[in-house]
Amino acid sequence: MTTIAFTLNGRATSVEVSPVRRLAHVLREDLGFTGTKVGCDAGDCGACTVFLDGAQVCACMVPAGQVAGRRIETVEGLAKDGKLTALQQAFHHFNAAQCGICTPGMLMAAADLFQRTARPSEDEVMDALGGVLCRCTGYRKIVDAVLHVAGRVPAAALDNTPDAGRAVGARFPKVDGLQKLDGREIFGADQAPADALWLRAVRSPHFSATFTVGACDALHRKYPGLVRVFTARDVPGNNGFGVYPQVKDQPVLADGDVRFRGEAVAALVGDRDTVMTIRDDEVPIHYTPRTALVGVDSALAEGAHRLHTDKPGNILAFGYVERGDADAALAAADVVVEGTFETAFVEHAYIEPEAGWARRVGDRVEVTVTTQTPYMDRDEVAQVLGIANEAVRIIPTACGGGFGGKLDISVQPLVALAAWHLDRPVRCVYHRIESMSSTTKRHPARMTARYGCTKDGALSGFTFFGDFNTGAYTSWGLTVKDRVPIHAMGPYHVPAVRAKTRAVFTNETPAGAFRGFGVPQAAITHEALMDEMAERIGMDPLEFRWKNAIRVGQPTASGQVLKASAGLAECLAALRPHWRKARAEAEAFNRTGDGVRRRGVGVGAIWYGCGATSAPNPSTMRMGVAADGTVTLYSGAQDIGQGTNTTMSQVAADGLGIAVDRLRLVWGDTDLTPDSGKTSASRQAYVSGGAAKRAGENLRAEILRLANAGQDAWLRFEPGAIVVEDRGRMQTIDLRRLEAGGPNGDVIMAEGYFDPPTEPLDEKGQGVPYATYGFAAQIAEVEVDVELGTVKVRRIVAAHDVGRSLNPTQVEGQIHGGVAQGLGLALMEEYIPGRTENLHDYLIPTFGDVPEIETILVEDPEPTGPYGAKGVGEHVLCATAPAIFGGIYQATGVRIRRAPATPDRVRAAILARKEQRP
């Protein structure tokens, strides 16, 4: 230990630490300045950006010893006297902070730029901020916010804080946005009791092995700071978890058998330095490696060992949809195209790794954690500990990005188990490599499909078979295998369809939920074939899609006749002028250009069912009025950056008839809020929004009943009273005279409940899997360097049918972020277990990779949705890759059949095509 004295945000500071400790950790853990975030500890994400003597550096790579006598500034030091800087305000207004985990780094990098230049250009902004990654926003709103401060972009289009009853549809910033800008927001790794022990999981270096754990006495003797080593034996309840109530196949701690590299085998608990110093090979674990089944072919091969004894052939399950006679339809079609398409494991790459802490409170356990789904976490932890669900309390922190990856548990059962046994608070923060190697991914897919149409462009039949690599455990594999066949033909009316999927276990990282549940993979397939058919019959690709777009009154392949809100044709029509102009421009460029850089424009169309597939999927929301007149929305819907806290407040406020800024929000905590289901399947706006609206309306009805007033009465909430004005008649409800009751101690309360109406699917996949679908079409303008195979996306135009846009600012945020992820899926993202387990080998888009995005919101209202709204969270990602691939085709004549289209693959395809047609 050394005493290191330096200036922190203008104040003399001194701290006693190891001089090689990373500055980021000193700031966060030794000094409590948790505004500086840690996403990788490797310089890759920039979340830890601070100023060192006035210049931006990554605090995760600065040894504490180097700051002696120097000046450090962090995000906490930006605002002066509690007043946000113009930059922070611009971030708020432009929705440049979604989850907010990258925001401190972004703000510091931008502030550094303004120290050097007052009016930076767009290129200068990109260069200055290029060292910070964001997974939520797609960067463009950040660029706009910075350029606004530079005086180059006008103020964000925002509505004034809306009056009572007018919040829905208004553009306004996040209700909880300000705390993301000055370092106040608390994420999973930001807080834990000072006496908390640290937990670190020891993970398998083998893809497949059996193992034994020996006695740890020697380890304890060598490391007195080691309190306990937990293994499978220590799990008091069921040593298995999984997202379905009936499938708990993934052990909390592996029991003698590891099925993927990165699987947790033991948990070390002790002081931080001790558990981080012990190397995995010092722990007496003896592995006997076994053949690793990598890729579905090796898992399906004859003689392959079974990963799970009850799953012969390593097949988890099949999914199936059949309608009409697809083979006959294809035989009769004028044109039939077919192809096989492959996609890779894709990592969520949220900038916040998994983190949380637990403590035992008597016979209960409390887990404070970053999550997308507090109630599922609660039930999961309960069954692992063998205690009642109600004996577990989940207190979600702000979530620094989820995208499906935080729907499965990670640290929760580990810290809960340790806290339960030790009766001391225990915390755990995954490091980046651990996060990437142990948590779920997007399913790699290999899909073969045939699509046919008539020569005048009517779709006739479609067949599809897809293998989905679900990795070592089930996770969300059943959802993917069901969702894909329903969506596999795309958002079109196709008379005859047969689509089958197979989810296969392998010795790879479990594949789970990732924005789209298999639909983005399927979309690559159906859209490529749509393009080929259009070309074969000589029809414009966009017009071909418009002609076949499924419309109200037509049945889906599941036999569900759409009754309302099918806005794809409208989306395509909205894109038409952009499409024609861009296609013509690309052709002109290619005619006159040097032939090395060639341009193309592609279109992708998709649909996506909102909510769980043919399963109960309810949300409950509660509202209450306290004796002092405070109105509170108790929302269990977890905001993971997409703005759910804001949209729920809007919907509930309008339901009740109160200005949205008068509403207090309590969110997430399972002891304080009702179950609003998980943040997944694009269901929160639609399902929880439906519940929030009803909660507002029910609370209103209750108040009107108390006042004996009519439907149109006005409500005014005052300290201790509600004034009800009904056609000139004023009445006051004295809240102080009412009795407090219910779970939150309010004096008046109401709940709202919504469960989307679906019907079960039969063995041929016929039924009503979803109550409503969202639709989207996007255009991508690309430029390919044909000599190098590099693809630059120049512009995206995205048209989305969202039913009703509850808050256009938030919807655009979703679209931008989804487009960026779609671009990554298309061009660069490929997770390879054991090889791309960090954010420099695994590439996600950076500033400069995401182009200008124009959004068009189409509103074809959904009658069952709140104010007509339906989901948008996943749709945004699905159309981008197909559009980009279409653009690559127009530019080069090459059809991409394997994602990502990395430069080497694109170049190889271009060379192969040259050989075919010299």
Partner: protein
Amino acid sequence: MGFYLRPTAVEEAVRALGERPLAIVAGGTDFYPARVGRVVDEDVLDLSALAELRRIEDAGDHIRIGALVTWSGLIAADLPAWFRTLKLAAREVGGIQVQNAGTIAGNICNASPAADGVPALIALDAAVELASARGTRRVPLTEFIIGNRRTVRMPGELVTAIRIPKPSGVATSTFLKLGARRYLVISIVMVAAVIERAADGTVGAARIAVGSCAPVARRLPLLEAALAGRPIGRALADVATARHLEPLAPIDDVRGTRDYRLDAALTLVRRALAELGTAT
């Protein structure tokens, strides 16, 4: 926790290095990423307070870049035009955070096959200056790095500077990097090229180096010989052929296949030559 020393004089640093094995930290941008999820418990020599190594000096026939000069320091320095190849490389290293902390010397000591500084420095004919308790020595950069993350630096030695000889006449240079995204990207291939112009407007000397295509960045001597004496113009690009890539031995990895690397290297070499052929 281990031993930690942050000396202010080179002699002190060198003495300490002679006494015990020490891990050296300069900007820390390679050091820390190699230790994710671990407490650093090695004995460390932190160079960051050696102010005398932070300078770029004109030493008559060469330019001397102190071992603590960062990428940003280099970008900001007033250097002759032929230095452009290294400045362009500097701009491609990480983001500004990394450029502000990472040193050029650290880049060569770390000896990654994908180090962007190395081809540029090789094309500039750089040499490495090392100091130890026994004295100093100078090693050409091409002999300093001997493999993937291997150098001839002895445990007791410190790199104190990089020396770059001045070209005899007018010279131009460039650097082209190929990666799969815009920022923060490890090179799939990069090419550095320097052309010295003879009095008659022909190529007096050419030095072309390719990185990420072998364990160590390699020069292309056959191409360099073929370029010598040619008139400077766009047609220089046509001189380069696949045959000239013979020193390269790329591998397949997550960033690209072997064949792709060779193909892209040729394209980049040609583009670099076209650019220098038309540069004024």
